[in-house]
């Protein structure tokens, strides 16, 4: 069980690393660094020079740096896939009696396979905005499934956690609402990103701020929802930290993380509005959103468990 729990934790951290690398692929414009899938320019290793690019690919599409960025993303994704599949096998072997762990581990295995194959569609669609958003959403669902599995594996080892915990009333619903809004925000954000990429192609010589200006309703709703989330998170965070009896360490840390992460997100939002969109800030904006999503899920699971004890 201990091995399973550790592997589940490593896979969860791995999932977040791959989400980070995926964001990096996006902002560095390496999404089509390898124009085919699963191979890269028809080879199992990216070409090292233009002479190795097969004739059926236009040589102008070959950029060794972008090809390797995308290739490393695929290698990391594949390693993560293997880790998660081993986790699922261990779950079947050792945790058959625990329905929640089994559901979490098996869903993760299905999701990681799905993300991989859907990645092929993202490439063949030439980064079609909807396909990219689905890719991101599937990755978030995978992170959620891994968190769920890991958290319940911990509960399996220490059955007394959350036994004496009493959350303020309606915490579970409150957190669920924040979780859903976060999902909407992520989809809105990826759609905005896609629209910005289209604008960058249509008006290549305009600046970040000029492209942002043209987004209109999209960016206003993203900003508005962001501020609503900040308010809801502060309210929820305060209620949990002040009003919970015997708050477990994991939930406490997740609540603090939620508050810190939303504050950084709002700050990054202002950076985008005022000085444009530096690539580094964009990578972290996406990554922090996915971590925030995970933190809310940890609290939700904890509140649900506490409720089932009472």
């Amino acid at each position: 069980m201990k091995v399973f729990r550790r592997l589940a934790l490593i896979s969860t951290i791995g999932t977040y690393l791959v989400i980070f690398i995926g964001g990096l692929v996006r902002v560095s414009g390496a999404g089509l660094g390898c124009p085919d899938w699963p191979k890269c320019f028809g080879r199992w290793f990216p070409p090292t020079s233009i002479d190795q690019v097969p004739g059926y690919f236009d040589a102008s599409r070959f950029n060794i740096v972008l090809a390797w960025i995308e290739y490393i993303n695929r290698l990391c994704g594949m390693t993560l896939g293997i880790l998660i599949l081993i986790t699922a096998i261990l779950a079947v072997k050792h945790c058959r009696h625990n329905f929640k762990v089994m559901v979490g581990a098996l869903s993760s295995a299905i999701l990681v396979t799905l993300v991989g194959f859907q990645g092929a569609f993202v490439i063949s669609s030439e980064l079609e905005p909807f396909a990219v958003s689905i890719h991101m959403l599937l990755a978030l669902l995978l992170a959620s499934a891994m968190i769920y599995t890991t958290q319940h594996a911990y509960y399996e080892e220490d059955k007394r956690t959350e036994e004496k915990t009493v959350y303020p009333s309606r915490t579970q619903k409150f957190i669920f609402m924040i979780w859903i809004i976060t999902g909407i925000q992520v989809v809105l954000g990826t759609q905005m990103r896609s629209k910005l990429e289209i604008l960058a192609q249509q008006f290549p010589l305009k600046t970040d701020l000029e492209w942002l200006d043209q987004l209109g309703a999209f960016s206003h709703s993203h900003m508005g929802l962001g501020l609503i989330m900040l308010l809801l998170t502060i309210l929820a965070g305060r209620r949990i930290l002040v009003g919970t009896k015997s708050l477990p360490a994991l939930a406490r840390n997740a609540t603090i993380a939620m508050l810190v992460l939303i504050s950084i997100q709002i700050l990054l939002g202002f950076v985008f509005m005022l000085i444009g969109m530096p690539e580094l800030a964009r990578v972290f904006h996406l990554w922090i959103a996915s971590m925030f999503f995970g933190a809310t899920l940890i609290i939700y699971n904890s509140a649900r468990r506490a409720r089932s004890h009472s």
Partner: protein, 201 residues
């Protein structure tokens, strides 16, 4: 360990990890940007003078100081030319309002493509300013320019002309070749024009 010191330790760990990841991300993004903006110099266009469809001379001097995208076509071509010119028209529209970026189509069938025919062809693609020029001349001069200047095959013209778009910098140097029929190549070309345009003095 108390709950509070455990929290401090966890969040204390996040800061160095975050910094390391920021450094890695910075390095990767920087290398990616550099790889797009550092286009190799493939060759230099020799001195030439052809005739534009508005009866003015157009040569190497007109290429200097601007970025140029050049292709070789002929107006009654039923093969790749309509797609190539449609893609060129899309680029022409994208860079509307930027006279520092020009498009040049050189006919490989000067006997058929008179100035009037080329003007009509240009009008069909919505050309209404001097950002997209159509050039003609003696077929021998055009074939030599195509082969020795632009380093493209020029055997068996007009039927067997190249479908490449050639990107030239402001010193009339070749910086890239792109498949004029492939939308993905056009995306790459747009990024390269954008990158060179931002380096213009």
């Amino acid at each position: 360990m108390s709950k509070h010191s455990q929290t401090k330790m966890i969040f204390g760990l996040f800061i160095p990890i975050g910094l390391v990841m920021a450094l890695i991300a910075y390095f990767v993004v920087d290398r990616a940007k550099e790889s797009v903006s550092d286009l190799p110099v493939i060759g230099e266009i020799p001195q030439f003078v052809l005739l534009a469809s508005d009866s003015t001379a157009f040569g190497t001097e007109e290429l200097k100081g601007k970025l140029s995208v050049v292709d070789f076509i002929f107006t009654h071509c039923k093969g790749p030319c309509p797609v190539m010119s449609a893609n060129m028209a899309e680029l022409y529209d994208k860079f509307d309002g930027h006279p520092e970026i020009q498009f040049v189509s050189i006919t490989v069938d000067p006997l058929t493509d008179s100035l009037g025919v080329m003007q009509e062809y240009a009008a069909n693609f919505g050309v209404d300013d001097k950002r997209w020029r159509f050039l003609t001349g003696q077929i021998e001069d055009i074939a030599e320019l195509c082969e020795k200047g632009f380093l493209l095959a020029a055997d068996d013209l007009p039927g067997n002309h190249s479908t490449k778009f050639v990107l030239l910098d402001d010193q009339a140097r070749i910086r890239g070749y792109y498949d004029g029929r492939d939308p993905a190549s056009m995306t790459v070309l747009t990024t390269h024009i954008q990158s060179l345009a931002r380096q213009l003095p």
